[in-house]
Subunit: 156 residues, 2 copies
Amino acid sequence: MKGNKSSNDAKWTETEASTWIGLVQAQQSLIEKVEEELKKKGFPALSWYDVLWELERVENGMLRLNDLGKRVLLDKYNVTRLAQRLEEEGLVERGQCPNDGRGRTASITQKGRKLRKKMWPVYERVVRENFLCKFNKKELKEFKNFIERIQASGLS
Amino acid sequence: MKGNKSSNDAKWTETEASTWIGLVQAQQSLIEKVEEELKKKGFPALSWYDVLWELERVENGMLRLNDLGKRVLLDKYNVTRLAQRLEEEGLVERGQCPNDGRGRTASITQKGRKLRKKMWPVYERVVRENFLCKFNKKELKEFKNFIERIQASGLS
DNA sequence: TATTAATAGTTGCAATTGCAACTATAGTGG
DNA sequence: CCACTATAGTTGCAATTGCAACTATTAATA
């Protein structure tokens, strides 16, 4: 069975390789910069921000852990624990889901809202200066279009 | 000092927000898919692959830990430990750096090369099917161009 | 060259993450 | 209503990561 399908060493073009690597590294280093800046200013990690933001976005500042997890791309066990930590800091309150006996809810507190608000300028600044500012409106739309193509197959 | 600069709540446009979020989520879910697929096939994590690949790329399959770390975007303590684990599995050998008494080297073994080669098709397939295949040549170049703009400010 | 500063790497400890097993509740078909 | 399956969430344990302190060596400089 020698000389079978060459599925074994599919080569990438230079452009393919560097685009993929570039995508990974660019995003990674952007996130790193955000984290670094947040820490430098004494704020908690980005994942905390994400959760607070998702909660603040929704109607009554409350979500089921399950839904929350989907929005922030976290596995359920991580949601459980992140919510615990946030509650310990008084940024979030957990409760029972009214309809569903299994469900737990997390709702953002005043303190949580305040913190998120203070974190935002730091976050926003890093992303603007290292990413958004590199594109004009038209380009940003093109970029968005590209991104959306990737996501299309990425929805769970 | 009320009514000061509105640096506090810089708003993003819809496009800005969804492009940024999209970028983060798209990349994250791509990586996740790769990891998932690797694990499903019984392979080690992507970070192992990255290290093996960087070693295989270079002339004599050997790099200083320091250089290696820069290439795979890992902090030094993580490089140390990843190299240890790889050595324990016989995928890498560590040695002394000839010129510099402080330096340690890592070099890929035959076993390491073999493993990387086996991992590649899995990795390549996920990236092709979920990312590369969404773009034709011209588009990919545009995408690459966009990415490079972000990286421009991102080199340490 | 003695002193000091910088670089490379390692390690202990704490925080985070991932996996797998577990509890509790909901939904479904008989 | 009962058995069975699926879903939501939690938890113990192991692996990984991050931080900070530490050693060893090199580079810089007075």
